[in-house]
């Protein structure tokens, strides 16, 4: 695949669409969660208001360079994840910078933001951030393990490290999806999905009841806006990977919207109705349930 300058414009368009999609989708999801609690919830445009408000705010507090870079890393992680994964299968515009080994890069980017965040938040010197980071890293590592195993399983299955090729292999019908061709790997990956979406029962890292609000404690104003942007972008980007790897990808924006929403809702479905695990309980959970399924997935292949 050759690089062309126009791809940058295309990629920017992808990012723009995804951010807007994310802003609205997360608000819709909020409203869905609110309904379970008997509330109307926020207006769908609430995320925009928050974002604009925070961007407009400036700060005089300094915690050091790394602190400022934290959200940048985080957002870079989100954008990077999105851009090196084909968003719409078969679309030239939204093919992004997909390449043969993009699967590995994508896995790296999943971690990249978290690590960046860890560095930045650590610099803030706030104990909440420090504890949040240590717990977050521990938990995310454990939660991503099943995903990694599932990815190994399907890369073995499809004999490729290119996401585009994996999506291509799933075309031609519902039952060509990895979901049906390799359900065990999908299950393992779904453990990771639920575990990393920062929703109960695996959101103790940011639990306001203990260490409000975890790593981002000290972030405010425009930095917070960056993080908010990432917060709507990153889950979508991550979901795109799942969509591509296990649910046949998307061949147009409509399919994209439906599938991402559906996959995202899996974590919501669990999250809304559960309390959260302690960190060591989460880790134990993933080691006990996620890891064996992941290993099983590889073995089956």
């Amino acid at each position: 695949m050759s690089f062309e300058w126009v791809q940058i414009a295309y990629a920017a368009l992808t990012v723009f669409i995804v951010i807007n999609y994310g802003l609205i989708m997360t608000a819709v999801v909020q409203k869905i969660g609110a309904r379970v609690g008997g509330r109307y919830g926020i207006p769908v445009w609430q995320n925009y208001i928050d974002l604009v408000k925070n961007i407009a705010l400036r700060s005089k507090i300094s915690h050091g360079v790394m602190f400022y870079l934290g959200p940048v890393f985080r957002l870079t992680g989100g954008i990077g994840l999105l851009l090196f994964v084909p968003t719409i299968y078969g679309s030239v515009m939204h093919q992004n910078f997909a390449f043969a080994g993009d699967l590995i890069l994508a896995l790296y980017f999943v971690f990249f933001g978290t690590l960046g965040m860890a560095l930045g938040a650590g610099e803030s010197g706030h104990p909440h951030a420090a504890i949040g980071v240590s717990r977050g890293l521990a938990q995310v590592t454990a939660a991503e393990l099943p995903l990694a195993l599932a990815v190994f399983a399907i890369s073995l299955q499809y004999q490729t490290l290119s996401i585009t090729e994996i999506v291509a292999a799933q075309q031609g019908g519902l039952f060509n999806w990895t979901l049906f061709t390799n359900p065990i790997a999908t299950l393992a990956a779904m453990f990771a999905l639920v575990g990393t979406m920062m929703r109960a029962p695996f959101d103790v890292v940011v639990a306001p009841q203990e260490i409000p609000i975890g790593p981002p404690t000290e972030y405010h104003s425009a930095y917070l806006a960056l993080m908010q942007t990432n917060r709507v972008l990153f889950p979508v980007a991550k979901t795109v990977i799942y969509m591509n790897l296990f649910f046949g990808g998307a061949s147009n924006w409509g399919e994209f919207a439906v599938k991402v929403f559906a996959i995202y809702m899996v974590s919501v479905l669990v999250g809304v109705v559960h309390p959260r695990f302690r960190v060591e309980q989460s880790i134990r959970f993933f080691l006990k349930w996620g890891l064996p399924v992941g290993i099983l997935a590889i073995l089956v292949v």
Partner: protein
């Protein structure tokens, strides 16, 4: 399986004076302020935690963020003027203050509230208990990250507040139980509307049972966590649901019946495990008792009759020298007022005995060391404490 038992030898050890030697310079420990403005704290108080990893090695409770000097303010007010401020000692269950104070004044002044007032008071106290438990249920869900429970309970509590509103003219600070009786009769059709609320409450509580109490994650977080040894109950002044969760079947409504509780049928709810689960469960089951009691009261109470005893002119009401202590079983335990009069028109001393005073101070400080930081909020909520009672 990997064990996550902490290595206790790494923890600070008590020095010669019995105090823990915590040297923050070593970098081994981390100070963390839990509160006062904190979603995981039960009201405005704070716990100064010392962490080793995410294990708490010491917790010091700090209060005073809400101190308004109520007891002192009462000494400056006439007996009737105290009435509007007592309810403010406890937000979620203010009526207990009103009743304890009114009863204490009546005892010392030799006044007896009419029967109708006694029934109405009992009704109010049970409604207040219901509300308080609603907050506790929501709180325990919320403390563990299950906001849905909190939202449901808030809704149900709100319905009960609607009933309070139509009955007393206010939602939170009802100011309805005056020394001498209560302010008025139940509005027309009150019982019917109350029944609707209770039916809704039962529907939501059934959902809570399914979503929270039949929930693997909830069980994992609460069973065996925050256990209070029943041997600590008396030294630490543990009363009410916290003690009942440890198998102590003590309930002042039953043991020392006040108001009209001796004319009502109910059972004292107990659990045995004395952990967070048991404390939540005792409260969950006590809600059912409260609901049943509200129904009973509305069915049994007289339909009409005077609600106020004859009072002396309250503008210059003097009460002879004396002292008394009036206590009842609030949703959190023994709630009492110690009133001392000196023959003047003002109380000499009013002391509020809130259950949180013992539960959130000495007991909590005793329980906190050794818990995971993630469990501190749940532990506190499970003790169901309200800081205003501590500092008054």
């Amino acid at each position: 399986m990997i064990r996550f038992e902490p290595d206790r030898s790494q923890y600070p050890q008590p020095g010669d004076d019995g105090k823990l030697e915590i040297d923050l310079e070593t970098g081994k420990y981390l100070k963390l302020w839990h509160g006062p403005n904190h979603p995981g704290i039960t009201g405005n108080m704070s716990v100064e935690l010392t962490l080793c990893g995410d294990e708490v090695v010491e917790g010091k409770v700090h209060v005073g963020y809400l101190h308004r000097g109520f007891e002192k303010l009462m000494e400056r007010r006439t007996f009737i003027q105290v009435f509007p401020i007592v309810c403010r000692v406890c937000v979620p269950e203010p009526d207990f203050n009103e009743w304890c104070y009114a009863q204490a004044v009546e005892e010392l002044a030799g006044i007896e509230a009419p029967e109708m007032a006694q029934w109405t008071r009992t009704l109010i106290l049970e409604m207040g208990r219901f509300n308080s438990y609603m907050m506790a249920m929501g709180g325990i869900g919320g403390a563990l990250g299950m906001g849905v429970i909190g939202q449901w309970m808030t809704y149900v509590r709100d319905l009960m507040l609607d009933r309070f509103e139509e009955m007393t003219g206010a939602r939170i600070y009802h100011m309805f139980i005056l020394p001498g009786g209560v302010r008025g009769h139940l509005p027309e059709g009150f019982a019917g509307r109350m029944e609707e609320v209770l039916a809704t409450a039962e529907r939501y509580l059934a959902d809570v049972d399914k979503a929270m109490f039949t929930n693997a994650v909830f069980k994992a977080r609460t069973k065996g966590v925050g256990v209070i040894d029943p041997a600590l109950f008396e030294p630490y002044g543990v009363t009410g649901p916290n003690a009942r969760a440890g198998g102590v079947a003590k309930d002042l409504r039953k043991d020392a019946p006040y108001l009209v509780y001796d004319q009502l049928d109910f059972e004292v709810v107990t659990e045995t495990a004395s952990d967070i689960w048991a404390r939540a469960m005792v409260r969950r089951r006590d809600i059912d008792v409260s609901i049943a009691l509200i129904r009973q009261i509305l069915a049994k109470m007289p339909k009409d009759g005077p609600v106020m005893a004859k009072l002396p002119n309250v503008l210059h009401w003097k009460i002879p020298r004396g002292e008394t202590y009036v206590a009842g079983e609030s949703s959190r335990g023994e709630y009492g007022y110690y009133l001392v009069t000196d023959g003047s028109g003002y109380p000499r001393r009013v002391n509020v005995r809130g259950p949180s005073y013992t539960h959130a101070m000495a007991l909590l400080e005793h329980l906190i060391p050794g818990t995971n930081i993630a469990d501190v909020a749940a532990l506190m909520v499970s003790l169901h404490t309200y800081p205003p009672e501590i500092e008054r």
